[in-house]
């Protein structure tokens, strides 16, 4: 009994000390740290003409040279473009374009002569370009089955629903399924150099190395069946509606056939904008002495298979060299120069303002 009342008093004293703080003896005083008191050392950028104008000048000084560099680089890139859509009657491909139907088994060929004014020194990239072709349409973009293209047997037999309505025909799966594959560009472009002596020399076009390495080796794979024969692997599937040949007959080279056909891979990477080009072939530079494509007359022979009239599209063949900054594009250089100039100009404006008003503020302070 003694003990209990003894402790009672002890605790009473305790309470008085700690206060009715629920028994917590902890001091409630907030910690005096820079963080908690919001006194962290801070950089306080105050944007005034005086502080900002150096930045403008610096940007201007950096951008203008870059812009010039880019512009020069872009100008050094040689590019040749030829439209072979065959819209107007004068075009050699007019007849092919006019009579086209998907059901034509016999391809129409047209020949387009052209002239290169300058020799192309380095590797030349041959593109086909399409205009007004909305490869970026939402439904179109989705209309593929990546796992089928990755060689998945199940997907091969049972394509994803995204491929609809190009997933199957009569319950037979389409390989490769989907609208993208179905609409694959199937013109064949061949290039001949018309020697001044009158002979027409075919230019060797490399059809490999045009796709991304990751696409060729990781993303796209042929299904691996019981035998290595592609025909057998694709047994039970049908070719896409618009295709003339099944996927396993795209090329004779087994390393470039089936899903890993590079033309196919390139087509499957959907373009971002309705006017686009896609790499078709590479003209490798043979030796260091001669230019890849000397100046002179050339002939482009087109197996005209691909219809663009229904959507008022255009077809082009492009020959281009590339630089470190990619293809020919004067825009960037001009833009850099413009932005740099604007910066410089603004910098000058700010300088004037700073001299006019910045001083006024300061003098106001001083007069205080």
């Amino acid at each position: 009994m003694m003990a209990s009342s003894y402790s009672a008093k002890d605790e009473d004293g305790h309470i008085t000390v700690s206060g009715p703080g629920g028994g917590t003896l902890r001091n409630k005083k907030p910690e005096n740290t820079a963080f908690k008191q919001q006194r962290l050392p801070a950089w306080q950028p105050i944007l005034t003409a005086g502080t900002v104008l150096p930045a403008f000048f610096i940007i201007g000084l950096i951008f203008i040279p870059i812009g010039i560099g880019l512009y020069v680089t872009s100008n050094n890139i040689k590019e040749f473009e030829i439209d072979y859509t065959g819209d107007d009657t004068s075009s050699p491909c007019y007849n092919c374009a006019k009579n086209f139907s998907w059901n034509n088994t016999k391809s129409c060929t047209c020949t387009i002569p052209f002239q290169l004014d300058q020799p192309y020194e380095s590797n030349v990239f041959m593109y086909y370009g399409l205009s007004n072709f909305y490869q970026n349409h939402r439904r179109y973009v989705k209309s593929r089955d990546d796992s089928q293209l990755n060689g998945n047997i199940d997907s091969l037999k049972k394509p994803s629903k995204e491929c609809e309505p190009y997933a199957s025909i009569d319950n037979k799966p389409i390989a490769p399924c989907g609208a993208i594959a179905n609409s694959m560009f199937n013109d064949t472009l061949t290039l001949f150099y018309n020697d001044p002596n009158g002979t027409s020399v075919p230019i060797p076009l490399t059809s490999t190395g045009i796709a991304w390495w990751t696409d060729k080796h990781v993303k796209f794979r042929n299904p691996v069946g019981t035998n290595s024969n592609l025909t057998a692997v694709f047994q039970g599937t049908v070719k896409p509606v618009n295709w003339h040949r099944p996927v396993y007959e795209l090329d004779t080279d087994p390393e470039n056939n089936g899903f890993i056909n590079e033309d196919f891979i390139v087509w499957m990477r959907t373009a971002a904008l309705p006017t686009f080009r896609k790499l078709y072939r590479i003209i490798q530079k043979k030796n260091n002495m001669a230019p890849t494509l000397p100046r002179g007359n050339y002939t482009l022979v087109v197996d005209y298979n691909y219809p663009v009239r229904s959507f008022e599209g255009r077809k082009r063949m492009i020959l281009s060299t590339i630089s470190w900054m990619g293809g020919k594009n004067p825009f960037l250089g001009i833009a850099y120069i413009t932005v740099g100039s604007v910066c410089f100009f603004l910098g000058v404006v700010l300088l004037v303002i700073h001299h006019k008003y910045g001083n006024r503020n300061n003098s106001a302070n001083i007069s205080n």
Binding site: H137, R139, N152, A272
Partner: protein
């Protein structure tokens, strides 16, 4: 419905407040307040019955208790199993989440599907998970708290066990067995340790308690309940721990009279009302087994979380438990208010919706047209759908694609940001009060930014502007003013040197010093326990005095304790003790003086304790030295004193009746001693355990321990044994005097304590208090026990309190009343025989009253009334009836009190000083400079209010005071017209002189409660608004709580401004609740203000930092963050929108959908948060120094509507740049969809982050870390995705894209150009604006940073001019060339 409940709640709190508030005078008793009784009465009409769990009632108990809630509380919302469904259910009550859900579902519709189905769920899931985690954490904290609370140990008196043993010590045995977590309800609880009791009340919610207390006098056992002293407890609200002393009414009879109380013999049934949330009210009765009913009221109820003081043990019965407790029913948790900014935000969001709609519509129409233009194209997957329908589908697809435009995550972000802001406010060192060890409490979590927009501040006066530490300043008795100049000087000294108070207080207490040793030795005799306490506690107190003092002495600061007596008054009083004094006051005056101080000492509810014996309620003493006879003789010499002026029969009759009455009581008193000892606290007591018939001689030995409440008994003792008694008395007196010096008064309201201390300075000392008697030392007479018949407690309607006592000297029944001057002056009526003298006194006193008020003192009038015995009997009967009634008890008691308090004799009046809190004038000045109009709403008198306003610099000498006191409504209307004209005249005058603000005198409106009442009516409202709008400040005096809230509401609603109300008392609750921001001062007046506030601070001065710095910051941070957030979303979404023009409006995106969704959700989500939490547009010091800066935020410059459009326009521009630079850079190339998106995304990220850097005013390492993290997280994610995602994310496979892109220089070239071009205009215009129109904000910031530079330049210039003057000949035409020449 909600509104109705709120109103009810308000009224309740108002009522609750009034009865708790010490003193304040208001205009008219508010009838509307009374009206609210009726619905409540109906609601609470149902009753519950509570039985003790013992013996006879076991069955009843079990039957009844089943329906009552158990005591285990669980404040958690969820359990493990219910968490997911319930939390989801709650979350889907939010519109934002529903919108998300809608989008997710929309994405499941095949024709409109934009992304993979899983991906659209991510935002929703993230938001849901974040909120769920937050909820879960909160709930877990509640769970832990509940667990702690539920695990508190209580001692339960268990019926069964009690029956098995007859030993009085049995409770202890049972106690040991019942240290269990949860009490079964209702059950007896007894406790003997204060600490444990505290826990007990924390763990067990509300109980009615019938008290037994054990003091530590050895023989104390379970007291008979009718003899209990007052028991006081400290009310501890759950959320903060500011002690508030509440008076606790003694329970009259727990057991029928004549029986002894033991827990097992308690068989009474308790009927009380059903649980409700009215803290101040409790109605019920206890029916004893013999059918006698005893009324119970709120005084009998111990609330959850109280601390018991002044007693060691409380025996009670639980009436409400767990969730039914009043504290729980009142605890509605943190408040949710919607800030102005949030409302503003909603309009912006609405605009976003409009924008979204327009964009979607554009896409839909565009798609339709696009579709129309093609017959059958090879890339069209679906050609069957007619263009119109396709357009319709696209509309919905676009809603999904552009969903980010509606910043749903903004709501979550805002919540997080506000939590961060609260964290910093909470941790601010300068808002910490060292004395109370209290930080600011942020009760409302979501109106931090409103702090930065306050335009009107409504402040209470007492306790808010002032310290609410009342100090007796001067008084007037018998029409004679005693200026107490010495006292005034002392107060000034205190103000100037607070530190020396301790020293001074010691010296002031001289006279009785050096006796502590004897005291201790004396007390040693009592018991070992007492010895222990006496030696141990002072030491402890010394050590910790710094902490102890402010708490224990909350109401009796040293300053209040030491009142220097007025020499004149002292002389007159001395005459009582020393007749040889030269100045002989008239005996009537002397009687007045004596009665005045007696009234001061006893007419209150102050409880007395000494630090040595905190719970020792009554240091019962025998009447010392001078016999009562002697005193009586002395008094009889005043032949014309009011006492003897009464009929002689009364005088003769009363002692007799008194004696007979007391005799009975005395007998009962001795019964106490024969009570079986069941709980003893010390050695000597234990020796007497089980001693049913205590030894009388033993009792005499322990003279201190004898508990005698009846003076007459003691008197007899002393008379029979004079010498012995005298000797012991002398010792005792010394000791008593020593103890008296250490007495601690704990009062409900500070002015009570001040008055008691004042009385003590005149040696009229309240020594102790019990339920039925008061022990008072009187000068020249010594200790007297005064029989206390009734206390009619203070209430705000009556504005006074009274005690009914039997006068110790004359034996008459005397009513002492203390109250507001207006009331008492009306009630005071001149006795018929002495009209002249009396009216003279009254006149003089009124004059003094006015003078006091002008001085800014709080005035109270003291009056008394002598009751004839038959009058008293008559009244008593009615009063008893009122007390025992259950229905309308309050009203009946009020009536009864009013019946008694008539025909009072005015004794005098007191003036009490309430000092201003520190730094109040500075704070008010700062707030006014910040453009905040400060209104003072007080219940005080006009003169007092004006004085305080002067003191706190609300009023300057140059200000013109407009006073509005009207007798009628029409007069009021006319007055307003006049005043408006006057103000307009003044304004035009100012305009004419054109001297600006510095010279012009501003107007201050002072309006009293009655006029305010009219002003608030419809007809005069507009005039009042017009008038008050033009005034610099408004002072409303004598306003009721309701008026306060009405004023706030009027201003808030009709002027459409942000209002802040600050107050500390319960009468400010309604005002606090009505205002946009309610701030409670956690002071001395209780918890209501704090409980209803949004923020609770401890000092008024904290307001300036809270508003000027934190408010400013919070507002600018949040406003900027919201803008930034909207910018971010618009900017990013527009990128997608522009792309639609190049993809046939097909809803295609150039980004992987994972990146698209996570971009807003993760990669760019943290920077705005950091920005919103940490940004400081200006340093705190500057904000404090230049309060004018506050106005910037006030006029919402940061968030004006056009700023929204500027932001949106900028976002449009940036998105245009961000899209079209890459577009042109890649146009015509072989770029793939995702490859095209890659530089766009990257530059968007850079633009968004750098945009924030431009917008930020401060960049700390945290910003840097977060920005870097944002960047790395984005690039890390996309690189990982492009490296390892072979067949994941099916339709748009990102494999290899980013890796390839980032290996191309074109990517970087594009990104740099895009970023620079996008940010250029903003950078330029900001620099331009800052230079051409430097706002005050920037100017000051500039001043800060450029100060040193300025100095340098100034010096340079000075040198320049000097050199100029020196070389006059050089010709200073070209000053610019000067330096170069020199």
């Amino acid at each position: 419905m909600e509104r109705l409940r709120w109103v009810q709640q308000c009224c309740r709190q108002l009522l609750a407040g009034d009865s708790r508030r010490g003193w304040y005078s208001d205009g008219l008793p508010n009838s509307s307040l009374l009206d609210t009784h009726s619905p409540r009465g109906r609601v609470c009409g149902k009753q519950r019955t509570v039985f003790p769990r013992n013996g006879r009632h076991q069955q009843d108990y079990e039957r009844v208790s089943r329906n009552y809630k158990s005591n285990a509380i669980s404040t958690t919302k969820y359990t493990f199993l219910t968490f997911i469904p319930m939390n989801l259910f709650e979350q889907f009550h939010r519109a934002a989440n529903l919108y998300f859900l809608f989008l997710t579902l929309l994405n499941w519709v095949p024709v409109v599907e934009a992304f993979q189905k899983e991906i659209t769920m991510i935002p929703l899931l993230v938001v849901l998970i974040i909120i769920a985690i937050k909820d879960a954490l909160e709930d877990f904290r509640r769970y832990l708290f509940d667990k702690k609370v539920n695990n508190n140990v209580v001692r339960v008196f268990c019926g069964g066990l009690m029956n098995s043993t007859e030993q009085p010590s049995c409770p202890h045995a049972t106690k040991e067995h019942h240290r269990k977590k949860r009490t079964v309800v209702p059950s007896f609880i007894e406790n003997e340790e204060l600490k444990e009791l505290l826990q007990l009340y924390k763990s067990n919610k509300i109980r009615t308690t019938k008290y037994s207390f054990l003091s530590f006098l050895p023989k104390n056992v379970f007291e008979q309940l009718h003899r209990f002293a007052n028991v006081y407890f400290i009310f501890l609200a759950a959320l903060n721990f500011v002690p508030v002393v509440e008076a606790f009414q003694p329970e009259i009879a727990l057991v029928p009279i004549g029986e002894e109380f033991t827990p097992e013999s308690f068989h009474s049934r308790i009927e009380c009302e059903n649980p409700n949330n009215d803290l101040s009210r409790f109605r019920g009765y206890m029916e004893h087994s013999n059918g006698v009913r005893v009324g119970l009221n709120s005084g009998n109820l111990l609330l959850r979380s109280c601390t018991i003081r002044n007693t060691e043990t409380v025996v009670g019965i639980v009436v409400y438990a767990g969730h039914e407790t009043k504290a729980m029913m009142n605890n509605s948790g943190p408040r949710y208010k919607r800030s102005k900014l949030e409302k503003h935000l909603n309009t912006d969001i609405l605009w976003c919706v409009v924008l979204l709609f327009v964009m979607c519509l554009t896409a839909a129409i565009g798609h339709g047209l696009w579709m129309n233009s093609f017959k059958e194209s090879i890339f069209q997957v679906d050609t069957e759908t007619p263009p119109a329908l396709a357009g319709f589908y696209i509309f919905w697809t676009m809603v999904i694609v552009l969903q980010v435009l509606i910043p749903i995550s903004l709501y979550v972000s805002i919540e997080i940001v506000k939590l961060g802001q609260i964290y910093f406010i909470h941790n601010d060192l300068s808002l910490y009060n060292k004395q109370l060890d209290s930080r600011i409490q942020c009760r409302a979590l979501n109106i931090t930014e409103d702090l930065g927009q306050i335009q009107y501040l409504f402040s209470d006066k007492t306790g808010t502007l002032t310290e609410n530490k009342m100090v007796f300043r001067r008084c007037s008795i018998f029409g004679v003013e005693y200026p107490h100049e010495e006292n005034a000087r002392r107060l000034e000294v205190y103000e100037s040197e607070n530190t020396e108070t301790a020293v001074r207080s010691v010296t002031l207490k001289s006279g009785y010093s050096g006796k502590s040793l004897s005291c201790r030795s004396l007390s040693c005799n009592r018991s070992s326990v007492s010895l222990h306490t006496l030696t141990a506690e002072p030491m402890e107190e010394d050590q910790l005095s710094g902490h102890v003092q402010p708490r224990t002495g909350a109401f009796c600061s040293r300053m209040a304790k030491e009142v220097v007596p007025d020499p004149a008054l002292g002389r007159k009083l001395n005459w009582l003790t020393n007749h040889s004094s030269s100045e002989t006051p008239s005996s009537m005056e002397l009687t007045y003086i004596t009665d005045f101080f007696l009234a001061l000492a006893i007419c209150n509810s102050v409880v007395v304790s000494s630090p040595n014996q905190p719970r020792h309620v009554i240091p019962e003493e025998r009447t010392p030295l001078k016999s009562l006879e002697e005193v009586k003789l002395m008094f009889q010499r005043f032949s014309f004193s009011p006492f003897s002026a009464l009929s002689p029969s009364q005088i003769k009759g009363s002692p007799h009746s008194l004696k007979s009455r007391l005799f009975i009581r005395g007998k009962r008193g001795s019964l106490t001693l024969s009570t079986p000892v069941s709980n003893t606290t010390d050695v000597s007591g234990s020796s007497q355990e089980n001693d049913s018939k205590p030894d009388l001689s033993a009792r005499e030995e322990e003279e201190q321990d004898v508990e005698d409440q009846e003076t007459e008994d003691d008197l007899k003792d002393t008379q029979t044994n004079p010498d012995e008694a005298r000797q012991s008395m002398q010792d005792l007196t010394k000791q008593v005097e020593e103890i008296t010096d250490e007495l601690v008064y704990e009062a409900e309201s500070p002015d009570e304590a001040a008055l008691v201390h004042a009385a003590r300075a005149y040696r009229c000392t309240l020594r102790g208090r019990s339920a039925e008697s008061l022990l008072v030392d009187l000068p020249g007479i010594g200790s007297l026990a005064i029989q206390l018949l009734h206390i009619l407690p203070f209430d705000s309607n009556r504005k006074r309190m009274s005690v009914v006592v039997r006068h110790p000297l004359t034996g008459q029944v005397v009513v002492f009343t203390k109250g507001a001057d207006s009331v008492i002056m009306d009630l005071a009526e001149s006795p018929t025989d002495q009209t002249e003298v009396y009216s003279h006194i009254k006149e003089k006193t009124q004059k003094h009253l006015d003078a006091y008020a002008r001085e800014g003192l709080r005035t109270l009038c003291i009056a008394k009334k002598v009751l004839k015995e038959d009058e008293y009997d008559l009244w008593l009967k009615a009063h008893m009836l009122a007390e025992s009634s259950i229905e309308n008890r309050e009203e009946l008691l009020l009536e009864s009190a009013q019946r008694l308090e008539t025909n009072l004799t005015l004794l005098g009046t007191t003036g009490i000083v309430d000092r201003l809190q520190e730094e109040v004038p500075e704070t008010i000045a700062a707030l006014q400079r910040a453009g905040i109009k400060v209104w003072v709403l007080t219940g005080d008198k006009q003169e007092t209010a004006i004085n305080i306003a002067y003191a706190c610099k609300l009023l300057c000498a140059s200000d013109k005071l407009l006073t509005a006191n009207c007798g009628s409504k029409d007069a009021c209307a006319a007055l307003f017209e006049d005043l408006i004209l006057e103000v307009q005249g003044g304004e035009s005058l100012t305009a004419l002189t054109g001297n600006g603000e510095s010279m012009s005198s501003s107007f201050i409106l002072v309006i009293d409660g009655r006029t305010l009442g009219w002003a608030l009516e419809d007809e005069l409202r507009s005039n009042f608004l017009e008038l008050s709008r033009r005034c610099k400040a408004v002072i409303c005096c004598r306003s009721t709580p309701l008026q306060k809230s009405q004023v706030v509401q009027l201003i808030r609603d009709h002027l459409g401004v942000m209002t802040l109300a600050v107050g500390d008392g319960a009468n400010d609750v309604s005002m606090i609740q009505v205002a946009d921001v309610g701030i409670g001062i956690s002071g001395q007046e209780g918890m209501q203000a704090v409980m209803s506030s949004d923020f609770a601070i401890s000092r008024f001065k904290h307001l300036s930092k809270l508003l000027l710095v934190h408010g400013h910051w919070c507002y600018s941070r949040l406003a900027n963050m919201i803008q930034y957030f909207i910018y971010k979303n618009v900017m990013y979404v527009n990128l997608l929108f522009w792309y639609q023009f190049f993809c046939g409006f097909s809803g295609s995106v150039m980004t992987n959908s994972w990146v698209l969704i996570l971009f807003n959700l993760i990669f760019t989500s943290a920077p705005p948060l950091i920005y919103g939490i940490l940004n400081q547009d200006l340093p705190a010091d500057t904000l404090m120094e230049l309060p004018e800066l506050y106005q910037d935020a006030q006029t919402s410059k940061t968030f004006v509507p056009y700023m929204f459009w500027i932001t949106v326009l900028d976002a449009f521009y940036q998105s245009l740049v961000c899209f079209f630079v890459p577009y042109f850079a890649y146009a015509g190339s072989d770029v793939g969809v995702l490859s095209f998106g890659s530089p766009i995304n990257a530059s968007a990220l850079f633009i968004i982050l750098l945009h924030q850097v431009i917008e930020s005013n401060t960049l700390t390492w945290i910003h840097t870390v977060v920005l870097v993290l944002s960047c790395t997280s984005y690039f890390g994610f996309v690189l990982l995705l492009s490296g390892f995602c072979v067949t994941c994310s099916p339709p748009v496979n990102p494999l290899g894209i980013e890796l390839l892109q980032m290996s191309h220089s074109l990517f970087y070239i594009t990104c740099v150009l895009t970023t620079v071009a996008a940010l250029l205009p903003r950078l330029f215009f900001q620099a331009l604006c800052n230079t051409l129109h430097p706002s005050t904000v920037l100017k000051s910031a500039h001043m800060d940073t450029v100060d040193s530079e300025n100095y340098r330049r100034r010096m340079q210039r000075w040198n320049m001019t000097h050199s100029k003057t020196n070389r006059l000949s050089a010709g200073a035409d070209n000053a610019g060339l000067e330096p170069s020449l020199a």
